[in-house]
Each structure stands twice: as structure tokens, then as C-alpha cells.
């Protein structure tokens, strides 16, 4: 049995390595447009994983994710930039993530006590108040026009167009190519820490909290502490995503960090399947890439007008929003475990078909496995 386990483990590790190698290739083959899609997707994935920990695993509805992204993005550009202390950028990244965590911690008196839908609306307040602060505190945030983001440099290597000039196997490495690898590294970090966290003691405690707060408390889980800790960790991931977004945009403006962004992140984890790291990643790629791709290929798509054409026509951004609004509704009503669950069930079916003798294809199992995990009934008077 241990042999078999070892075998599975090595196979899984081999697959991961292969995936990592494949993900290292795009800068050599794709142009800046595709690299930017990838970059935004990776940043979104990092943020979505953070939200998946909070909303999917700990069961706390949060609409305040945009606020923590903003704290990360603005924190980085303030710490590393001018006006600001002008610290070394690497240190600024760390401080920005910690700042986002601290912001989450400051909110914890609310996060630890307020539950469910109430928490969702309370976090809504963060987005609106945060947006207001971003607009008014000109000296720090640059007001409506935002502020430019200093490029990241690590030990003399700058993640920007030049300095030093770099050409690898005949491919000139500009900002997108360099940031791609940075994003990949940060995403890998997020992937492994988040999965580790989910499988650890605190992760189990959070899942127990989601399923039944009373039962978890009886089992010795400190409810208030775990709830606020989940909030802090989630906002730190959001902060990291904010830093990466800021680096990719090279300029941060308040209007980007609005309620729409929070809803986008919620859409990501819902479409991907609540509470799984892989699902959050898939959802992030879907929600991020869809509008960009539709904008690019608008002239070749049926029913979609080119951007900036006559008023009232369905533009690519609108078409993308229709699609993913509908995706949220359909996923939640018909496949509550999202893309992740769909993929898993498809995999199960393929495996079942393969393990059966191919002689009688008519004799399929009539009922597939129960879809959503059965959940104990909650009593909320």
C-alpha cells in the first residue's frame, strides 16, 4: 500500500514539475498581449485563492476584497515610491503585504462577530470607505489620478523594460517577460502555502467552523480567533495580488478598486468552485481572460460589436459581463461545486468507463455520485 502511495506521490510531483516547466515557456513564444493576460490572471488567482480561503473554506462572505487589493497596491507604491519613504522595492512588497494583513486585522472586531450576510454588507462598507479615502488623501494616494508604481528590483535586476538589458535565446526580455516569471513565482508560493494551510490544523478548524460553528466551538476551536485570523490571511493574499497588479499596470487609480472588482473576485471563486485552490485559480483565469479575449477578437465574434461602436450595441466588455453573470447563476444552480467539481466528475466518469469492460456501453450506472457534499442542516432561528 505504501508503495502505491509513493507511486501516486511521485507521479503527482512529476505532473506538477511538467506543468511548471510548461508555464515557464510562454515568454519565449507569445507576444505581450498574451503575457499580460497571463499576468493579470496570475495576480487575480493569488487574490482569488485568498478569498477562497475566507469565503469558501471559512464560509465568511466578503465583498471587501477590492479594498485589500487596493491596500496592497497603494501600499507598495507608497513604500517604494515618491512621495513616500522610497524604501527598496523588495522590502516595500513585504511591507505592503503586511499592511494589507494589518488592515484585515483592524477589521477583525467586526469580522469576528458579524456573521453571514451581515458580514458581506459590512465588508461592502470597506470598499466604499476605502474608495473615499483613496480619492481624498491626495498626498498619499495621488487622488483621482492615482500614482505611478515604481518598478520592482531585486539585487540590481529590475522588472522593467531595461536595466539590465536582457536577451535570452534571441528573445528580448521586456517588462512583461520578466514580470511573468515574478508572477509565476508568487503564484507558486500562494499555491503551496494555501494548500498547506487548508490541510493543516487551522485549515481543518476553519472548515469545521463553516459547517457548524457550535460543533466547532464544542470541539475546542476558538471561534472568534479563527474567524479573524482567516480574515487577516485572506487580506494578505489580496495585498500580494494588489502588488502584482500594481506592477503589471504601472499605475494605480482609485476607480479600479471599486465594488465591481470585489464582485469579480466573488465570481471567480464561485465559478471555480468554493473552497478549492485549483478551482479559485481556474475561476480567476476565466473571469480575467474572458473580457480581454473578447475585446481582442470582437470583430470575429458573432453578435458582438467592436469596442467604441454605436451606442446601444453589445460591446465586448458587455458580452463578457453577460457571460459571466450567467455563468455565476448557472454554476450555482446546476453545478454548485463549480469548474473544479465538473472537472473532477468528468475525470471520475472517464476512469469508470475505462475500468469497465467496453462490451456493454448501454449498462451505465444510473445514478452518478451525489454532487454536492451532503451538509448538516443548520439551525438559524
Amino acid at each position: 500500500m505504501s508503495d502505491r502511495l509513493l507511486h501516486t506521490l511521485t507521479r503527482r510531483r512529476g505532473r506538477l514539475l511538467l506543468l511548471a516547466a510548461v508555464l515557464c515557456l510562454p515568454p519565449f513564444y507569445l507576444d505581450a498581449f498574451w503575457l499580460r493576460i497571463g499576468l493579470f490572471s496570475m495576480a487575480a488567482a493569488i487574490g482569488a485563492v485568498g478569498l477562497a480561503l475566507l469565503s469558501g473554506t471559512a464560509g465568511q462572505l466578503s465583498l471587501g476584497h477590492a479594498f485589500f487589493l487596493a491596500v496592497g497596491a497603494y501600499g507598495y507604491s507608497w513604500f517604494a515610491g515618491d512621495p513616500g519613504p522610497g524604501l527598496p522595492p523588495a522590502l516595500a512588497v513585504l511591507l505592503a503585504v503586511l499592511l494589507a494583513g494589518a488592515a484585515g486585522g483592524l477589521f477583525s472586531p467586526v469580522a469576528a462577530r458579524v456573521k453571514g450576510i451581515y458580514l458581506g454588507i459590512a465588508t461592502l462598507a470597506l470598499v466604499f470607505l476605502g474608495h473615499h479615502v483613496l480619492l481624498t488623501a491626495d498626498s498619499v494616494t495621488g487622488g483621482f489620478n492615482g500614482r505611478s508604481v515604481p518598478p520592482l528590483s531585486l539585487g540590481g535586476f529590475t522588472f522593467a523594460e531595461s536595466d539590465p538589458e536582457l536577451t535570452v535565446i534571441g528573445v528580448p526580455f521586456g517588462a512583461e517577460e520578466r514580470l511573468w516569471y515574478l508572477g509565476l513565482a508568487l503564484f507558486a508560493f500562494t499555491w503551496f502555502t494555501a494548500r498547506g494551510l487548508l490541510r493543516s490544523r487551522p485549515g481543518r478548524a476553519l472548515a469545521a467552523l463553516r459547517d457548524s460553528e457550535t460543533a466547532a466551538a464544542v470541539m475546542g476551536v476558538d471561534v472568534a480567533r479563527h474567524r479573524s485570523a482567516a480574515f487577516v490571511v485572506s487580506s494578505m493574499y489580496a495585498g500580494l495580488a494588489g502588488v502584482l497588479l500594481a506592477l503589471a499596470f504601472r499605475r494605480v487609480v482609485p476607480d479600479y478598486f471599486s465594488l465591481v472588482l470585489s464582485v469579480d473576485y466573488l465570481a471567480m471563486i464561485v465559478i471555480g468552485g468554493l473552497g478549492s485552490v485549483a478551482g479559485a485559480t481556474a475561476g480567476a483565469v476565466f473571469v480575467t481572460a474572458l473580457p480581454l479575449l473578447m475585446t481582442r477578437y470582437a470583430d470575429q465574434l458573432p453578435l458582438v460589436a467592436a469596442p467604441g461602436s454605436t451606442e446601444g450595441a453589445v460591446g465586448p466588455t458587455e458580452a463578457a459581463r453577460y457571460l459571466y453573470g450567467a455563468a455565476i447563476v448557472l454554476v450555482l444552480l446546476y453545478a454548485p461545486d463549480g469548474l473544479h467539481g465538473l472537472a473532477r466528475r468528468a475525470g471520475d466518469r472517464v476512469r469508470r468507463l475505462r475500468s469497465r469492460p467496453p462490451a456493454d456501453p448501454t449498462d451505465r450506472p444510473s445514478s452518478p455520485q451525489p454532487t454536492a457534499a451532503a451538509r448538516p442542516k443548520e439551525h438559524t432561528p
Binding site: G120, L259, E318, R321, E378
Partner: protein, 298 residues
């Protein structure tokens, strides 16, 4: 003094409109446990219908048709989409997120149709004003207060005296027991959604009337300020929604009115003041002012 009275009256009018919206949230929440994020776009839908129809049907006809259509749309959304998800507490959370998806689709479509336009609803008040002692009050504000008071009174009577109201209260108390007593949960729910939709369409009239410039694509977002109003009072309490709406309306009007004195808080703080108030209240009372404390049964 006049300034203060003026602001208070403005706040009351705003609060009255918020109350229409917040009452919609509460009715839906009581009946289905769902917080309806699509409420803003339902409101915009109602307003848009009035704007399109009032030339042909006159204001009253357009209003009646819009209220009915919005009610039907809300009821249909619940009956044909949300009710597929089941009735227990967990699926209520899921359905709350489904309403976000519905909101995205509806709002995108309405925003596309409205574009950058300012639509007039053709309401009978226009920019007329009435002198009340030292005050000059816009007729639309007085109408907002009067109409809201009448409608809200009627809704409370509906809760109290009709069999539908009784079913609604029973369902909010205990779903299973209500179902066993013969309450048809699906119908009660859909009815609640219809009522909320009608209230939202009505609120659109006053949100777009003078002194506001007209109906625009962001009018639905203004209705988001009714979220703090509903939460402030406790989501399951209609009286709480009323109190919360008045508090939020007064706060907003006073902050805007005394903006020059409140310069420290930055320009445009009036827009976010409701949320600041709500956070403060939630810190002290996590389930709102009138919310039930809710003991957990194991």
C-alpha cells in the same frame, strides 16, 4: 435654523425613499433568507420602463405598468431561478450569490440601453416648490414622504391582517413548521419577491425626481445605500428597516448639508456616511438595532 430644518426635511424625504427599498430587502429576507443584490437593478429596470413608457401611456399608466412588470420580473426570478436551490439556510447563502449574478446581467443590459443619457420619468411634480413657513420644499420631496408613508402603512397592514402576511411571518419563524401547517412556501416567497419588486419600481420614481437630475445608469447604485439602512435595523425586522432608513437618510442629508464644517472628512463624504454609520452600529450590535440575537440550537 432654517438650514437645519431644510436638511432634516431633505433627510426625511431621502429616508422615506430608502425605506421603500429597504423594506423590499426585509420582505425578501424574511420570506427566503436571501439578501437580494439584484435589487438595485430591479429598481433601475422599473425606472427605465417608466422613462420609456410615459410618453405613450402618461405618467400614471407608465407607473402602474412598470410596477406590475417589475413585480412580475422579481417574482419570476425567484420562482424560476432561485427556488431551484432549495429552502434551507445554506442554500439561502448560495442564492444570495446567485442574485449577484442576476444583478450583473440585468445591470449590464440596462446600462447598455441607457448609455450616458439622463432619462426623465415625466412625473407630475417637476421642479415645483411649496412654501412651508420659512422653508421652501420641493414638491417631489413632499410627495416622496407622503407616498412612502401611505405605501409602507399598507405593507405593514398586509403583514398584520392578511393570510399572506401571516404565512410570511410563520415561514420566517420556522420554515418546516409553517410548511407542515399548510403554508405554501413557494407561493409565499414568490409573493414577497413581487412585493419587493413593486416597491423598488416605486422608489425609482423618487430617486429620479427633482432635485435629482433624472434617471441614469448609476441610479441603481444609489439604492445600494439602502443596504446599510436594512442592516442597521436588523434584516428581519420591517420596523427596523424603517428606523434604519430614516437614520441613514438624515445622516446623509446632514453630512451633505454641513459639508463645509466637516471638511476634515473629505469631499463627498455624504455618499459613504451611511456605511460609516453602519460599521459603527455593527461593532456594537452585530445583528443590527432590532435584530434577533438568535440562539443556536444543536
Amino acid at each position: 435654523m432654517t438650514v437645519l430644518l431644510d436638511n432634516i426635511l431633505g433627510g426625511l424625504a431621502l429616508g422615506a425613499v430608502y425605506a421603500l427599498v429597504a423594506l423590499g430587502f426585509v420582505v425578501i429576507f424574511k420570506a427566503s433568507g436571501v439578501l437580494n443584490f439584484a435589487h438595485g437593478s430591479l429598481l433601475l429596470f422599473g425606472g427605465y420602463l417608466i422613462a420609456v413608457l410615459h410618453d405613450d401611456l402618461g405618467f400614471a399608466g407608465a407607473l402602474a405598468l412598470a410596477v406590475l412588470t417589475t413585480a412580475a420580473l422579481a417574482g419570476a426570478l425567484d420562482r424560476f431561478l432561485l427556488q431551484r436551490g432549495g429552502q434551507d439556510a445554506h442554500s439561502a447563502h448560495v442564492q444570495t450569490i446567485v442574485t449577484i449574478g442576476i444583478d450583473i446581467v440585468l445591470l449590464t443590459d440596462l446600462a447598455r440601453r441607457i448609455g450616458g443619457d439622463l432619462l426623465t420619468l415625466g412625473d407630475p411634480w417637476g421642479d415645483a416648490v411649496t412654501e412651508l413657513g420659512p422653508l421652501t420644499v420641493a414638491d417631489s420631496r413632499l410627495a416622496a414622504i407622503v407616498v412612502s408613508a401611505v405605501v409602507i402603512g399598507a405593507v405593514f397592514a398586509l403583514f398584520r391582517f392578511t393570510s399572506w402576511g401571516l404565512s410570511l411571518r410563520a415561514a420566517a419563524e420556522d420554515l418546516e413548521a409553517a410548511a407542515l401547517m399548510g403554508v405554501r412556501l413557494g407561493r409565499v416567497r414568490a409573493g414577497a419577491w413581487c412585493l419587493a419588486g413593486a416597491l423598488a419600481a416605486l422608489a425609482a420614481v423618487f430617486l429620479a425626481a427633482f432635485p435629482a437630475p433624472g434617471l441614469e445608469r448609476t441610479t441603481g447604485q444609489i439604492a445600494l445605500n439602502a443596504f446599510p439602512a436594512a442592516i442597521l435595523g436588523g434584516l428581519a425586522s420591517p420596523a427596523g428597516a424603517l428606523a434604519g432608513s430614516l437614520i441613514i437618510g438624515l445622516t446623509e442629508a446632514l453630512v451633505v448639508g454641513y459639508q463645509s464644517e466637516l471638511h476634515v472628512l473629505g469631499e463627498g463624504f455624504g455618499d459613504v456616511a451611511p456605511y460609516a454609520v453602519m460599521l459603527l452600529v455593527l461593532l456594537v450590535r452585530p445583528t443590527g438595532l432590532f435584530g434577533a440575537k438568535g440562539a443556536a440550537r444543536v
